[in-house]
Symmetry: C2
């Protein structure tokens, strides 16, 4: 495998997901993943701190896209508008990978420790978003609440996007979830 994906990090992430689905997370070692990806175990640990982290290789790029978008938003935008825009800005990294996202969700749902890691990533995204909002002058607790609401909208939009038969883009699913949240709080 892997000619179309020459980077070792990408090959490892793909191999890990395959193995987690084939054998289960607990039955897969870092060495198994390295072998499937055609690299050494040492190379695995150069790329990833542990066996869980390998499913979250996209997290830093998503977090950066979100934080950059918050910083670049027009001064006149309210905190929740800024968050809605920021959450949609990270989607371009994901739109082409819906099938991958579906398989990944299956692997995560099957293992509580992977669920915990995913929640920690979402929590980190919320904390970084709140910090970026405060840097724009949004006060507490508005900054933290807008950030949490934005992350909840992202998570809900993502879940809808990977549902079987869903045809909307991720950006559309997130936009629709934000509209629904506004309707709820009206």
């Amino acid at each position: 495998m892997g000619r179309w994906e020459p980077d070792a990090g990408g090959r490892l992430a793909r191999a890990a997901l395959e193995l987690y689905i084939e054998r289960g997370f607990d039955q897969t070692t870092a060495l198994d993943i390295a072998e499937r990806a055609g690299v050494t175990e040492r190379t695995f640990f150069r790329y990833f701190a542990d066996k869980r982290e390998v499913l979250f290789d996209g997290s830093p790029a998503l977090l950066k896209a979100v934080v950059d978008s918050i910083a670049a938003a027009p001064e006149s935008s309210g905190p929740l508008d800024v968050m809605g825009q920021a959450m949609q800005s990270g989607t371009s990294l994901l739109e082409e990978r819906r099938d991958h996202a579906r398989q990944r969700a299956v692997a995560i749902a099957a293992n509580p420790s992977l669920q915990e890691r995913e929640l920690l990533k979402m929590s980190a995204l919320g904390a970084a978003s709140a910090e970026a909002l405060r840097a724009r002058g949004v006060t507490s607790p508005a900054a933290e609440l807008a950030a949490d609401a934005g992350v909840a909208v992202f998570a809900r939009g993502f879940e809808n996007w990977i549902a079987q038969g869903e045809t909307r883009t991720l950006a559309e699913c997130i936009g629709d979830a934000m509209t629904e949240l506004r309707r709820l709080t009206a």
Copy 2:
């Protein structure tokens, strides 16, 4: 210790928190906790599945209070009103224990695996709330978004409540966080 708290579960929870703050979570074993609480290690594992779970002994009662409140809410109430009320309904279990909650927050903040466990508990509270809303006839994704927003409001209110010098009750902090969320989305 423990005369004022004759139940082994409560003694274990208290002993664990003391030890996590004194020595750190990683440096504390289940046996250490059991000895401090004056029971056997076997008794520890009759009460708690692992060393992390011992800090979350109040979670089932909170979840039950929230779900019961959602089920009992007036038919005319909107999903977010129902959630706001439900989140405040669980606070009576906590109001008298602000100092305990502060120490617990310090212990959790010091350890990523405790943070992950806390996030999993909050996620479970959101999932149970969404299910209780759907049982009232609230459709998806409104049920899930209202549940997530309610949990975010609870988490923010809780964080404000344990801040040094805060004098509002937990119920007031949660009510104020909900008001702030509504203002943000207006």
